[in-house]
């Protein structure tokens, strides 16, 4: 049981890392950023390339994050910002198209097959009774805590972070008060894309595999988590990511496959939405 809980926390941490970026994008631009999953896969591939050439995990993470910041910014600047005035469904379709485009691009560039992404850390695993924690799992936990703490510190203690909070609450009022919206949107995509890249590299290392379609399930499943977390609430999304990760892992370990793993998140989401349309962790208004 403890082993399953740990596995669940690891899965949940990765979910939280991807979903937190989505929640941030939604919080500011009100766009369902499906192509976020393309950023995540791009991060994994860039990290992989960097690792193959340098054999340094740190450089892999940095290179992946830097490339994805650029990619995320480009998507924001040239696709989303010009579409803000359009009907909601238009940026959504653009985002879906972009995801299809990138998934095929990764297939063409990286090959349609699974590549192994093997990273050796300085220890192998920690064994405690029958419970095993691999070094990769420790790495994921540490990186998750570091990333989430960084987001928390930036948003709570920097000037730009305060501007971010104001914009998330009400963009028009924030603009009227002299907040530089463009900077806030840039910061938003910078953090979201960098963290997606880190999540991509960590996922690839954790499963020792990297493939072009690794983003197709997260592309949509993460929205279930974002919705459960109250759409736009960062702590809510983190909690929802952890919960879904654990519920999925424990359910498929103990109850067999009653339903496919990916349907669990959506079933939970639909049930909760019907009874609590603001999401599980939405702040009372």
């Amino acid at each position: 049981m403890l082993q399953q809980l740990i596995n669940g926390i690891i899965t949940g941490s990765l979910y939280a890392l991807i979903a937190v970026g989505l929640t941030m994008v939604y919080g500011i631009l009100r766009i369902l950023h499906i192509a976020h999953a393309a950023v995540y896969v791009a991060g994994a591939y860039l990290g992989y390339v960097a690792y193959v050439y340098t054999q340094s995990l740190i450089l892999a993470l940095v290179f992946g994050a830097a490339g994805c910041v650029l990619l995320g910014w480009t998507i924001q600047r040239f696709l989303y910002t010009p579409l803000l005035k359009q009907e909601r469904i238009v940026p959504l379709i653009a985002s879906v198209g972009l995801y299809i485009f990138f998934e095929d691009l990764f297939r063409l560039l990286g090959g349609p097959y699974i590549r192994a992404f093997t990273v050796k850390l300085w220890f192998d695993k920690i064994t405690w009774g029958s419970t095993v924690i691999t070094s990769h799992q420790v790495l994921i936990l540490v990186m998750t805590v570091v990333c989430l703490a960084a987001i928390y510190l930036i948003i709570t203690y920097t000037r730009l972070g305060l501007a971010w909070q104001a914009t998330a609450q009400d963009m028009d009022t924030a603009k009227a008060m002299g907040v530089n919206i463009r900077q806030v949107v840039n910061l938003n995509f910078l953090i979201a894309s960098a963290i997606a890249a880190i999540a991509g590299v960590l996922t690839a290392i954790n499963y020792n595999s990297i493939l072009p379609t690794m983003g197709s399930v997260p592309a949509y499943k993460m929205f279930a988590i974002v919705v459960l977390g109250g759409m736009g609430s960062i702590p809510g999304t983190i909690a929802a990511g952890l919960i879904i990760g654990m519920v999925e892992t424990v359910m498929s370990a103990y109850f067999g496959f009653i339903m496919p793993r990916d349907a669990i998140a959506f079933s939970a989401m639909i049930l909760i939405l019907i009874f609590r349309p603001e999401g599980l962790f939405a702040r009372a208004r």
């Binding site: 485009f101 063409l108 939405l273």
Partner: protein, 306 residues
């Protein structure tokens, strides 16, 4: 590539036109996001397959019943849409698609992952319909669907739906029963998707859960948006264009999806009213004036951003 190949493509295109027009009732007329339309396509297909194979009903008896099944479940989503709105609704419908497909996939009653095979070709007056006539049959239904959409958009129902799309509070204040009309829009749209499912099942004669998975919903939404959301000609031409495109791009085989995805991005970015919607650039380029004339002063898509 013989003649039969073109007939097959024609039938598939016809089915996609019905799907796009049916989604247009929900998203175009009533303005409700639905990203799970393939689920109702699937419900129609499975219902009709099971009714004809397990109960021995004829195609013509199964057709209205399958539409009813899709419509009733669609009305259920309509009821959900009263509580869940906007982007939440979009994500919920994605979820509904995943959950319904997983029900097909994980229950033996629906044939599991292998689906249902041996579905019968429909008969008319005791004769088995040949493939060519099936094409005609499909396009009769396409015509009826388009006519029905036209009737809706010209009727009191269409007017009410448009008001709900533009401003729900104002609609409620002017005495329109928003709840009733929203549920109705979902029921009608999903029943028509069910019709497309029946036509699909009896043409392919073999259905699997994958045929109705989420990517199909995305295809339908793309067809609607690329064609021009909220218009009948946009729905028809968008479905025609997007369904024919993979065939036209066949020489590009390896780069097909790359091109398809890129095209969706470009259209959404530079022609968000759709290629054939209000005031399309193609029409302006060819005839040098805006179309339709009344829409000349409109900026952006119907509805605008709320």
């Amino acid at each position: 590539m013989g003649f039969g190949y073109f007939i097959t493509i024609g039938i598939i295109v016809g089915i996609y036109i019905i799907l796009t027009l049916s989604l247009n009732i929900i998203s175009g007329y009533a303005g409700q996001a639905s990203l799970g339309h393939a689920a109702f396509f699937g419900i129609g297909a499975y219902a009709s397959a099971l009714l004809t194979l397990k109960l021995g009903l004829s195609f013509w008896a199964a057709l209205p019943l399958a539409m009813l099944a899709a419509g009733v479940i669609g009305a259920g989503v309509g009821i959900i849409s009263l509580r869940i709105k906007g982007d939440f609704l979009a994500v919920t419908t994605i979820g509904i698609n995943f959950v319904i497909v997983s029900v097909f996939e994980y229950s033996d009653f629906f044939g599991g992952a292998y689906g249902i095979s041996g579905i019968l070709y429909p008969e008319l007056f005791g004769f088995k319909i040949s493939k060519g006539y099936y094409l005609i049959l499909v396009f009769v239904f396409v015509f009826l669907t388009a006519l029905f959409c036209r009737l809706i958009s010209k009727s009191w129902l269409g007017l009410a739906l448009e008001t709900i799309r533009e401003n729900e509070d104002a609609a409620e204040a002017s005495g329109i029963n928003c709840k009733k009309f929203k549920i109705l829009a979902f029921a009608i749209g999903c029943a028509l998707a069910g019709l497309a499912g029946v036509l699909y099942a009896h043409f392919m004669r073999f259905i699997t859960p994958i045929d109705f998975a989420f990517p199909i919903s995305i295809t339908i939404v793309s067809m609607m948006v690329v064609g021009g959301i909220g218009t009948i000609r946009g729905g028809i031409l968008g479905a025609l264009f997007m369904a024919a495109l993979p065939e036209i791009l066949r020489p590009l085989a390896n780069y097909r999806l790359l091109f398809y995805g890129g095209l969706i991005v470009l259209i959404a970015r530079f022609q968000p009213q759709g290629l054939f919607g209000d005031n399309p650039f193609l029409f302006r380029k060819i005839f040098g004036k805006s179309f339709p004339p009344a829409a000349a002063d409109k900026t952006g898509t119907p509805g605008g951003r709320k």
